[in-house]
Each structure stands twice: as structure tokens, then as C-alpha cells.
């Protein structure tokens, strides 16, 4: 077995691993990057990018299907060229992956190693059976994998995970999407809009990452009107039958339902790629869920020379957070034991469904109802949204009672990917309701809906009005 001695060993060459490598190199560390799978990040290969490409084709199809109300007519129905849709997804996806591969290519051969790593001790990794790596510190950035519920074990080769969808040569005739989290909702709605007869099932009582009961219900109503959506299902059975999959389940109302589909897409969430690493050999302390106890401000596990970054940490499985965790882990691994804590960004989580979903700052479920006030707005009749035929949704903004400081928001509506940024930046800067109302809101824009919710908050908080909330008195005129 070969032996390697380095300052920092990094397991995983994804977004977090590559960011960790850059930071560790900047600090002058001798770094080894270990990757067991294909190069290219989850984001570029099977996550953010291909899903957004598929969603855009679906949105275009939906625009065309609803074009007549805007005075634009077409002959017959739009034809979805599934092969062309998927070819574009892969072509553009491969371009994004290409950028990642180029950056991996630029790493000198002696600084990277192919193979599956597992711990032998806190500072020792064995890679496949060919190399033993001793490192002063180790960054684990091993990513996550789709989780397959056990009741889908009888589906055989008709069972897909999200990765597989992008590899289809053509779109299937029908599919059941199991799980309506971020990925399930995005893919379920896209497939439906692309003409796939799509069944959307989830044992959960919610869709997406929502926790606010009002927004949760609104989302179920809105998506339920468009999709064949069943939430809160129980006792699902799935078995492969000739040319497809037969599904049987109990709906929330107790009725038994059945359906046969070409494929089942499991989108029941992703799980950190930890088990194969033998973390117990490194004496990694685990919580009740088998997750390492990691400080998100340092990325460090306990006092060990081991740092966790990206989806494997299960902290915030989002691209931009993985990049931050990678940077923090790389910075601290290179300087171990001189570990520093970093301020994390305000949470921002977006689902690219239509209407979109966003969770900003502290979600409803993490707030104390007694110390906060809720301002809200419906987008069902909001001016600009109506102009665009996108008038559907509801937003609730949370502020603390004392000074009206903005805490967070749960959002369902048009372009909340953008208004979500606006609110996340406001929350991170400690802006108050009154302060936010002093900012410019153009006309006619969806941001005016956010102003309506802020004014609702101002009224409920009984903020003192000088002129109106939003105008700031600066003293006597000349």
C-alpha cells in the first residue's frame, strides 16, 4: 500500500471540497483531494443546473398553453419534443459540468487521488486498498445520496432517482413522484407541464420546505389545483407489473387509491454519505440521528482534526452554503488547531416551482409565537402579478415585537427567488419593519406585495407614524 503524508486531506471533490481545497492552498498547506465517484459537483451534474434547465422547458410549455388569454394564439396544441428537451438539458448541463472538470483538471496530479476513502483513525484515511493517507487535518465533503424508502423495494428497474431523469432519452408517458420536498415538487411539476401523466404522492402533510400552516395549506391548494397531488398518504405499496409499476395507497381521507405508471421517481430526500467512511474509527461523536456533532461556525467535529462541509453535514444542503462550509473547513483545517469561528449567512432556501417557494431567515416553526408578529399578503390579486397572469400565492413575514426587527419569512408566489433575496438581506442587516418601509419600492412590481405585508406588520405592531411608515422626517424645512 502506498503512503501519503499531507497537511490537509479532503474527501470529496464537489462544491464544498473544491472550496476547502482553495482555502487550504491559500494558507500554504500541502493538500490531497480524494474523490471516489465521477468528478463534477452534485449541483452541476444532477442538482441545481439540470433541474433548472428542465424547469425552464416546462415553464415555456406552460406559457404557451396559457398564451391565448394574452391574445397570442397557436394552431392546435404545443408539442413537447421530449428528446429535444432532454438533449438541451444534457448539453447545457455538460457545459456547466465542463467548467468543474476544467478546474479539477488544473489540479496537479500529485494533489488528487481517485478512490473511496474511509477512516482508520482521526488523522488516517485508507483509500480503496491502494493508499494510506496521514493528514494533520481532514475535511469530509463527501456529499449526499438520494434515499430510497423501503416500500419501493419491489419496483425494480422501474425505480428512478432524480439523477436518472436527466439521462432519459425521451420523456416517459407516465410517472409517480414519491416525496414532495424541494426536488420532488420541482420535478413533479416539470414532468406534468412537459406532458408526462404525473402522479405526485407524499406521506408528509406538506410540500417543499414550508413550516407556516397558512403558507403550507396555500401551497397544497395551489399545487393541488394543477397537479394530481396527494399529500399525507399512508400504507403505500408498489410493485413492478408488466411494463410499469402498480401503486396502491390510502389517501388522507381514508380512501384506498390505485394507479399504474411507467416509472416511479423516488424523491424522499437525500442522506449524507457518511456510513461508508467508517466515522466510528475516527471516534467521531454522533448525535441521535447518527450525524456527527459539528459546529457550523467552525465546521469542526468536536475537538477533532476533522471538518465537515457541504451536504454531508446535513446542516444546510444548499450550494451557496456548501461553498461557505468548504471555505470555513479549508481555512480551519489548514490552521488546525488554531480554529476560528465565522458568521454564517441568513438562511435562504428557494424552490423553483411555479409559484415559487422561499424560506428566509427563521422559519415559522423555529420562532416563538409569543414574541413575534406576522404580516401577510395574498398574491392572488396583486397588481403586477395579475398583469403577468401569475397572481397566485401568499407571503408571511415575521418580526419581533419589541423593535419590529425582521426575523424571517415564508413565501409562496411569483418571483419569490428575488423578493426572498431582498428579505434575506434585510434580515441579515437587522432591518426593522419601519426601516424596510423607507426603502424604494418601484411600480408596478411584485416587491409591492412585500410592502403590503410590511405595512400589515407596521399596523399590527402599532408603529408610530410620522408621515407614513416609510417616510423619514429629517427636521424643519428651510
Amino acid at each position: 500500500m502506498n503512503k501519503r503524508d499531507v497537511d490537509v486531506a479532503i474527501v470529496g471533490a464537489g462544491t464544498a471540497g473544491l472550496a476547502a481545497r482553495r482555502e487550504a492552498k491559500k494558507a500554504g498547506a500541502r493538500v490531497l483531494l480524494i474523490e471516489g465517484g465521477p468528478y463534477g459537483t452534485t449541483c452541476a451534474r444532477v442538482g441545481c443546473m439540470p433541474s433548472k434547465l428542465l424547469i425552464h422547458s416546462a415553464d415555456v410549455a406552460h406559457e404557451i398553453a396559457t398564451a391565448e388569454k394574452f391574445g397570442v394564439e397557436i394552431q392546435g396544441k404545443p408539442k413537447i419534443n421530449g428528446k429535444a428537451v432532454l438533449e438541451r438539458v444534457r448539453r447545457e448541463r455538460d457545459r456547466f459540468v465542463g467548467f468543474v472538470l476544467d478546474s479539477v483538471e488544473d489540479i496537479p496530479d500529485e494533489e488528487k487521488l481517485k478512490g473511496h476513502a474511509r477512516f482508520e483513525g482521526p488523522g488516517t484515511l485508507v483509500v480503496d486498498d491502494h493508499t494510506c493517507v496521514e493528514a494533520r487535518a481532514i475535511v469530509v465533503a463527501a456529499g449526499s445520496s438520494p434515499w430510497i424508502p423501503s416500500n419501493l423495494s419491489g419496483v425494480g428497474d422501474r425505480l428512478l432517482i432524480s439523477d436518472d431523469v436527466f439521462e432519459f432519452e425521451d420523456l416517459p408517458g407516465s410517472a409517480a413522484v414519491i416525496g414532495m420536498g424541494v426536488i420532488g415538487l420541482e420535478l413533479g411539476q416539470s414532468l406534468h407541464r412537459l406532458g408526462v401523466d404525473t402522479l405526485c404522492l407524499t406521506p408528509s402533510s406538506r410540500v417543499g420546505p414550508l413550516t407556516d400552516p397558512v403558507i403550507k395549506q396555500k401551497a397544497i391548494d395551489v399545487f393541488g389545483r394543477e397537479l394530481n397531488l396527494h399529500v399525507g398518504i399512508r400504507e403505500m405499496e408498489a410493485r413492478q407489473v408488466d411494463g410499469g409499476v402498480h401503486l396502491k395507497w390510502m389517501d388522507r381521507d381514508g380512501s384506498t387509491r390505485e394507479a399504474t405508471v411507467d416509472y416511479v421517481l423516488a424523491s424522499a430526500g437525500r442522506r449524507p454519505n457518511l456510513a461508508g467512511l467508517d466515522p466510528e474509527r475516527a471516534e467521531v461523536p454522533l448525535d441521535d440521528h447518527g450525524q456527527p456533532l459539528v459546529d457550523p461556525r467552525t465546521a469542526q467535529i468536536g475537538n477533532l482534526p476533522i471538518f465537515l462541509a457541504g451536504d454531508v453535514s446535513d446542516h444546510r444542503p444548499l450550494l451557496h452554503e456548501a461553498a461557505d462550509e468548504g471555505r470555513i473547513a479549508g481555512h480551519n483545517a489548514a490552521r488546525y488547531p488554531d480554529v476560528r469561528a465565522f458568521v454564517r449567512r441568513t438562511l435562504l432556501s428557494v424552490v423553483f416551482s411555479d409559484p415559487q417557494i422561499a424560506v428566509v431567515g427563521k422559519a415559522y416553526g423555529r420562532l416563538d409565537p409569543d414574541s413575534m408578529t406576522i404580516g401577510e399578503v395574498s398574491y392572488d390579486d396583486q397588481g403586477r402579478s395579475r398583469v403577468m397572469g401569475k397572481n397566485s400565492g401568499h407571503v408571511r413575514i415575521y418580526a419581533e415585537n419589541e423593535r419590529g426587527t425582521l426575523l424571517g419569512a415564508e413565501m409562496l408566489g411569483p418571483s419569490v427567488e428575488h423578493t426572498g433575496h431582498l428579505l434575506a438581506w434585510a434580515v441579515q442587516q437587522g432591518l426593522t419593519v419601519d426601516g424596510a418601509l423607507r426603502m424604494p419600492f418601484y411600480h408596478p412590481v411584485v416587491e409591492e406585495g412585500i410592502r403590503t405585508a410590511l405595512r400589515d406588520l407596521a399596523a399590527k405592531l402599532k408603529l408610530e407614524e410620522t408621515l407614513e411608515p416609510g417616510c423619514m422626517d429629517c427636521g424643519p424645512g428651510t
Copy 2:
């Protein structure tokens, strides 16, 4: 002649006048609202709302025309049902106008007066020839009107202003749009996308409200690729001919051009409705352009009991600014001579073209090149923009050299109506480049393009990097 004696007389029942009325009423003043034209605001009747409705139909038509690259195919070409487009514009427009009319309807009859007002003295108005109004203070919120260049005088009834477009029963076969400011660009592109053979002419060297030479040139390039656009034209002659208008002009390169179109749309800007008010009788001090000297923080003209609000002030002819000016004018008119100054919002100006244009905070033309640094990004290959087939544009952000405080931006690109809000809020809060980079940027979003421009600024300003700009060290880890 009738006589009326009130605390505050308001000339104009548009956005600014109605806002002024509410504030003056809140302060307990006896108010009279005088309107010479139809009720309903410029915004709702002929401005923001109908233009956005027309633009949305045009965008839908454009989406369909470019759908094939996303794998969505239609038979033949999309058919623009011009009558249906314009019927929707008017139907939805009338709904927005209806809300305004309802609010006017709610005003007691004795508090409003129909007729054209003109000054007799600083506190005296004569309305038509039927009423003389004495007021302790007067708010002038008389709005603005399209300006018609003199070289269009030979066009006769083939000459249109933007208001007329929304009253068409069907779309014309061809049109020339003269002037490529905000309204000209929005309408010119919409008509083109709705199948009208559209000629876009402007004597100016720019399109929209841009002042940054890089963004100006980019805009001319981008819109020039799609539209039949001629900037910097000279010596235009226009005369009505059988069934249309014949135009002759000299292009920037000196060549003479000719064209015949069905209609000419004059969009050479709007002018404040001042002349008919006889402001000289109120001893209103005027600047070199014949505009009253008004303090935007108080809305007051000199030390007179006269306040100017909305488009008539020519300060910032934007809906949200008109509402602010109305509130300030109403507040101060009711309390005159106890006049207070209010902080105005950071400038935000948006053109709803495709790509969109935004000017935020201090425009390039208002900055001292020696004390500021420019960060920039091209949207021609930006990730998410490319996914949506909207990868076209360029953004430049300005920061002062000492602390990297954000000053403003000029923007051409997808969804800059949203990223413009993000930057305008950041500018108003005095955020620095480093502070902005600490905020969350989701993935994949157009906001990441803004981050690229901020990182460019950070590099040029040689900001000290702890981890990387955007991560904030909060001290030793545990």
C-alpha cells in the same frame, strides 16, 4: 362666480394629488381637490399599468417564437390576435382605473371640484370661470403631458401619443416610434414583438435613462439586434401621405433614409402641465427651463404657500416618487408655514424592456470618476440567465474609493427590476462592497451576476480579505 375658502386646495386628482389629500385630511385640514381632466391616474389610465399589460402579451409572443430551442414546438407561427391583446389591455386597465375612481367616488362632493384651475395669486385659484378658491396653501399636482416635437406637425391624424396606442381596436401594420426613452423603448419593442413592422428612431445617442457609456453602448447593440433601431438621427422630416406617413431622416453615418409607415408614435418625453396654471401670477420663481424652484425634501416652492408634487415637479416622474411627493406636499401644506423636510428614497428607475434596464442610486453621469470605482459583470454567459435563454446584458456598480460604500448602478439584463431593488436597498442602507458580499446569494440565480460585479469591485478596491470577501470572522472557535 362661486367662492370657496379652504385650508388646502389641491390641483390634480392623480397619484400625487390623492396622496396629498389623504395627508392633509389626516392633519385635520379642510381640503378641496380640483381636477380638470378625467379622473384616474396617469399610471393606471395611460402609464405603468396598460404598458405593462401590452408588454406582457409581447413577451408571451416572444417566448413562443423562441420556444423551439427549449424543446417546445408549435405548428406554424403564433398568431397575434391584436384585438384580443388590446381588449385585455383595456379590460385590465379599466379594472385598475376603477380602483382609483372608487377612491375618488368616496370623496364627499363638497371636497372636490371639476374644472381647470389657474393662479390669481399665491393663495388664490380660479377654476374655469365658475369658482374662485382661496386657500391657506395650494398643492400643485397637475401631472404631465406628452411632448410633440415640431417636426411631427405635418403628420396630422396619423400622429399618436402613447395614450392612443391602448385605444386602438386592432394593432396597426406598421408604425414609427420617435424617441427611445422609457416609454418609446417599452412600446417600440412591444409593438415589434406583437408583429407590428416597427421603426424605432431617436435623435438622442442613447436608449432609456442610461448614462454609463458601457451600458449605453451595450443597450444599443442588444436592442439594435432585435429592433429596426436608429439612434442619433438628424434632420427628420415627416409628412402625411395617402394612407400613412412618409419619413425621411439622416442616420448617424450621414446616409439618408426613408420609410413609409401607417402611424407615427411620438414618445419624445413628457412635459409638466404648468403653463395653463399661470404660475407667474403667484410669483412662482422659475429656473432657466421655466420650472418652479422646488425643494424635493419639503415639496415647497421657495417660501410660498405652494407645494409641487408628482410629474409636474419634473423631479422624479415615477409613480412611487409621486406618491411620496404627494404625502410630503399634503403634510406640509396642511401645516404651512410649519414646513418639515423629509428624507427621499434612493433613486430606482426601471424600464420593462427585454432585457430590462435599471438605474439605481447615483447614475454614472452624476458621479465623480476620480472618487469612485466600477465593478462590472456581463450577463451574456451568466449561468441562470443562460438556463432561461435570457443571457444578454451588462451591469456596472459604483462604489466610493475610501470605504467601498455602494453609490449606484446602471443595469441592463434579465430581472434587473429585482436586482435593482436589491442594490437600491443596499445603497440606501449605506452598505459597503464587503458588507454586500456577506449577504446570501442563492444558486442558480441572476443575483449571482451582481455578486460577480461586487467581487470585481472588491478586487479593484483591494479590500482586505480575511477568508474571502463575504465571510465574517467572528473570533476563535471553541
